[in-house]
């Protein structure tokens, strides 16, 4: 560790030089950072996590060469808040990516939403940019589509992708198809200039996104600039798609075709880093924004392995994610860490890789995982599971306490929208909101990863865990100052004319 600390200090000095434009050719640069963020990919979708068809040889190899995290979590079971959390290192309840106009209501950024990432938030690319990094986002932004929320206003130097999900199309003038941007310029729309064939599932978007990644890496390498690549692709979000060479090649249908193309692409990105000789100077992390969307299964939804339910829920299937860290020469090969990890840790850890400290003027939820990755340290920390502004559950060590449980409303459920198909744990996967704040349901996730057997309220184990978790929750709530909610979905007429901000009172 002493050697690493020295190296880090050396890097910090270099970064100062770099920021001043003094970095000369041939001088070692601070490590590059590549975050590979999947869309609706589930914990169980990778061979290394037990997917029976085992069609992810490149990702499995990445895990063999790096560190696998079986206990890694998103910050929300939905895409926008999870992505906002990654880039700010903060819970959505702090950074504003939630709603206050419905209890336990998940929030995202539909095309009509007026909100987005507040200027007051410090995003990872902003901080890295100040330290001399060149930053690119490829794929889905999802932090607001109005001009003030544009990624190039929040620290990115380049963008190829879209502000919203690729579902649609909306063929009318009020709701036009989702735009695709190259930097500041709108270069087309999904289903038009960027076709997605809903019938066959064919689209070459992953190939475009791959090419963008490879070109960016080559260019920055040639420029000798440290770089941050945020590769936020979306082929595994319904409607799932793959390019022609991958269509029909999977044992798992179209969803599997998309996974195979992604796996192939990740392999090509890692190979390029190796071929350019910069793999030892590039920190790479692979994860997903939330659990697999079982509402789209089996044809367009993935797998959450042995876990309960999926996307939209605060059960393990909704928020436990595949996660692999790769940094040859730094992270020893073939490790598994049971550190409870969070997508928010990618903010703090990336800063640490760059030799930077997180902002000190606000609460940052993300931890620096470098001591875990480099030295195998395991830190005690809670995982908070929110839906909207409601703290649904907390995991501490092996125990998870549910303060509220539900999946979706009876109304939705009766329409066939099922977040837990084939799964039904009595009193847990309910269609009314069940309050357990006085006596939370507690599960031992080691013995019971599927959240099927709550501990007996009368057991000593329950009492012990409850007292420890209660302390953690009280401490969390005492210091919590909710941000202004950005994602309240209101009357559409209002939404299209002004942002309706509702300040959430302290609880």
């Amino acid at each position: 560790m002493a050697a690493y600390a020295t190296a880090t200090r050396g890097l910090q000095q270099l970064l100062v030089l770099s920021a001043l434009g003094l970095l000369v050719t041939g001088t070692p640069r601070p490590p590059n950072i590549v975050l590979l963020l999947m869309d609706d990919m589930g914990w169980g979708d990778l061979g290394v996590y037990g997917e029976p068809s085992r069609e992810t040889p490149n990702l499995d190899q990445m895990a063999l060469e790096g560190m696998l995290f079986p206990n890694f979590y998103s910050a929300n079971p939905l895409c926008s808040p999870s992505r906002a959390a990654l880039l700010t290192g903060r819970l959505p309840i702090r950074n504003g990516f939630y709603t206050s106009n419905g209890h336990a209501r998940n929030a995202y950024t539909p095309q009509e939403i007026m909100g987005g990432i507040p200027n007051s938030e410090h995003l990872l690319p902003e901080l890295l940019k100040k330290a001399g990094y060149t930053n690119k986002i490829v794929g889905k932004w999802h932090l607001g589509h109005r001009p003030q929320f544009h990624p190039l206003k929040h620290g990115f130097d380049e963008w190829f992708g879209s502000p919203n999900c690729h579902f649609g199309p909306y063929d009318n003038k009020v709701k036009p198809n989702i735009p695709v941007y190259r930097d500041w310029e709108m270069v087309g729309r999904f289903y038009e200039e960027f076709p997605i064939n809903l019938k066959t599932g064919e689209a070459n978007l992953t190939q475009l996104y791959l090419q963008e990644a490879l070109d960016f890496i080559r260019t920055q390498h040639a420029r000798q600039s440290p770089f941050f690549l945020y590769w936020a692709i979306d082929a595994t979000h319904a409607p799932v798609y793959a390019s022609r060479p991958f269509l029909g090649t999977s044992h798992r249908g179209r969803y599997g075709d998309a996974v195979r193309e992604i796996d192939d692409s990740v392999g090509k990105i890692l190979s390029l880093l190796q071929n350019l000789g910069i793999s030892k100077n590039t920190f790479v992390f692979f994860t997903s924004d939330n659990g697999a969307a079982l509402i789209s299964a089996p044809k367009e939804g993935g797998s959450n392995g042995p876990f309960l339910c999926g996307k939209q829920t605060t059960f393990e299937g909704g928020m436990r994610e595949p996660a692999i860290a790769w940094w040859p020469g730094h992270i020893a090969a073939g490790q598994v860490s049971h550190q409870l990890g969070s997508i928010m840790d990618l903010f703090t850890t990336s800063l640490s890789v760059a030799g930077l400290k997180p902002p000190s003027d606000r609460i940052i939820d993300g931890l620096d995982l470098l001591p875990t990755m480099l030295q195998g340290h395991v830190m005690d920390r809670p995982i908070f599971y929110y839906r909207g502004n409601t703290l649904m559950a907390v995991t501490l060590g092996q125990y998870k306490a549910h303060f509220w449980t539900w999946t979706n409303s009876w109304e939705e459920f009766r329409q066939g929208i099922d977040f837990c198909p084939g799964q039904n744990v009595s009193g847990v996967t309910t269609h009314t909101q069940e309050e357990h704040t006085e006596l939370p349901l507690i599960f031992h996730l080691g013995r019971d990863p599927g959240e099927r057997f709550p501990l007996s309220f009368a057991s000593a184990e329950y009492q012990d865990v409850l007292s420890r978790i209660t302390q953690v929750v009280q401490q969390h709530q005492k210091s919590l100052v909710p941000g202004q909610p950005q994602l309240n979905v209101c009357n559409q007429a209002v939404m299209l004319t002004k942002v309706k901000i509702i300040v959430l009172g302290g609880k």
Copy 2:
């Protein structure tokens, strides 16, 4: 393959020499065979199959050095029939390990049963013995407890273990505790001379079984005798147990402690083979007798990963098993095969390893998997899922057709016996026997390994699969001559005095 064929012919000649006692010191011997058979261990219990706690480093390493089978099946969702199938290479309906006195009734060998493995069956050790092998069974026999069924009457040279499961104890004269044998001699009983502490879970049985295995391997190596070790241990069958050094060491509770001790033991067995320099001359296969017993979860039952239900059922969770082949220098490292495999293949494959052919006077269901293991061949073959004398389901390629579905009776279920806790697929995991013989429920196991989304009856895919599966089933049933049922459980007074044989008429 030519080289292998030549080698095989060479081995066959050697075996003839060996059988004639002409094998001289220093001459290469035919490969040893080690079958590691677990009890109620589920597909999802190994790290390499995605168990989140990842506490099986030795088994995961075994897979990395060998071939992993994600699509490997037992021959029955219960222990006795599955074990009879392994040792005979034949479906339980053929070898008699079924009942005819209840529709879709699983059968096993309780302490009171009069039946057992018929003399007319040719067991693997009998065939290997004729070819010069020395054979040992360590652990659970479960093919009948009366004298004529003793393992040493069916080809084994040595035995340390018991004829029945270790649950109990029965502290009365009519039902004494289960005996433990060394060869012909009863050397004690479970809970007496071989203690199992039901309160703490402590028992040193796995250590005894490990020592038996290591001693046998060392002795046969010193004798230069080819050997067959059938290591049929039972620590993961409720009541699960572990020895003191492993108790409390798992993230998964007592069940995980048992798994950790087994993993450690497998590591020691493979290490010994390597240290003795005979790993390249020893074929090793690891699997389990049926799916994890979810009735005993979460404290004493394992995991079936993403699959539906568990032991006792003909859903994937009841019959899909962990399976790893290991034979350094022969089976290339790090392979995954999607061959549909069966526990019955271990009969035929073991014979093939020894250079022998299976009996030609009867139908053998097991295939020779050596072409799969050595050359990556994938053969088309069905998997039949029986409960008792009822063909419940068939898998062909990626498709599984259910002709009958049910889990257990309402009566049992209302008493709290649940084979599918937290899982409920409407019309599938039923508590009445549902007949679908005219219009089977068909699942695509690649897209839907959890058997949650039956294909639409109206789809072209359904019609195509139905016609192919119907042919396979008709062919199977046309040639089927059921064996005499050995496991009819009747009036106890009758059972204790004579075997009641009911010959099953053709359907």
